[in-house]
Symmetry: C2
Subunit: 207 residues, 2 copies
DNA sequence: TCGCTTGTTGACCATCGGTCGATAACCGTA
DNA sequence: TACGGTTATCGACCGATGGTCAACAAGCGA
């Protein structure tokens, strides 16, 4: 009477299990915030024991970050400049791709930005992206020389500007995508002009 | 032998105790991050029991937010526009005051921004400040009419720009305060120009 | 000196992230 | 079909944390 014909659980291939857990995680974490979910919750939701979660992911944070990795790499590929055209053209294309992606994944983007609230790793991840992007832009501006502090500051700040505008955008949705792209790029030029000093303000509009 | 002449603890007036706890908190939280400190730690540091902490503050988050309140109101008063002069002059003064405050409290500012990482309430607090500030600026731009989406977006994004630039500033400290102020204001003008459309870019430099 | 008010304590609880030895499902082999 | 080894999986357990609460006692007024 004790032994049932059906096994108490089914063994899955490691990669298969891992894949399922990640898939489920991406969905769970877009619906609930990081600390709304306990590992016990997640495990229960997956129909496995909590211990097994830790067999596949060393920590809750690791699990969370891993669920973002997929979207992150996909996103990085999209924004990656083509390598052809002037730096400004490349940047325009990148921003355009970036906006298109967010347009389609607004919820995920907002959730990501908000999740920086709970998970320090995400903040570092975002900060890392900003840093790398800033470096690319600065390289495009002056490939060889060290940029003046004001220019570095302007580019860095502009990336914050983008996130602020984009969060506003996904919240309101009352601006066209191409108009927004032009506005973003225009602001970068304005910021660079301001960085060059008030006397040089006409530089940005002259070119 | 059991009873000592000295009492085991001393009773303090409620407001006095609360004041001390807040004062100690502001100092503790600028040295350690939110989740580096447990309530037990804090209580031990204050020489009281953990239970008493919860007698004065309903939760750890509440305690944390309360410690920020003091600095936040002080800061709001500093940045509050004088009410005299043109909107641009008022804004200039506000930014200047803002930079001066950060110059003196760089550590606290960076810590605050970073602590948004751990405590959702702080993020909401910052977001609330941005919202209110944006409204003030928009009122200064066009007191009566609803601003166009692009303008609202530009102002909102500029406030993010500020935080990005300021974090960069406190990290590097390689820009003069007045130069930075001019750069910030110049960027706002550039952002507004970009919001008005690429054709109207000369507006910002014409004035 | 007594008794009341209430600031204060310390034991206690649920939950969380995380660990680990035991168990049993599945596969290769005979 | 039975067996044995591999290892995916379980579930009991741990220390720490945020939070609760009944009981205690410091200080004050009568």
């Amino acid at each position: 009477m004790v032994s049932l014909s059906q096994p108490a659980y089914s063994r899955l291939d490691v990669e298969e299990r891992r894949r399922r857990l990640l898939e489920m995680g991406t969905e769970l974490f877009t619906r609930h915030s990081y600390d709304e979910l306990s590992m016990a919750d997640i495990a229960r939701h997956a129909g496995i024991s909590k211990g097994l979660m830790y067999h596949y992911f060393p920590s809750k944070r690791d699990y969370f970050v891993a669920t973002l990795q997929q979207a992150a790499t996909e996103l990085a590929a999209v924004v990656e400049p083509s390598g052809t055209g002037t730096p400004l053209e490349q940047l325009t294309a990148s921003v355009d791709a970036w906006l298109t992606w967010i347009d389609a994944n607004a919820e995920a983007y907002a959730k990501l930005m908000q999740s920086a609230t709970s998970v320090g790793e995400v903040r570092e991840l975002i900060e890392g992206i900003r840093e790398a992007t800033a470096q690319r832009i600065l390289d495009g501006l002056s490939p060889d020389s060290e940029p003046p502090p004001a220019v570095r500051s302007a580019v860095k700040g502009w990336l914050w500007f983008m996130d602020g505008v984009l969060l506003d955008w996904v919240a309101h949705r009352d601006i066209g995508r191409s108009a927004l792209r032009d506005q973003l790029l225009g602001t970068l030029l304005g910021a660079l002009a301001a960085a060059a000093g008030p006397d040089a303000a006409e530089i940005s509009t002259a070119g």
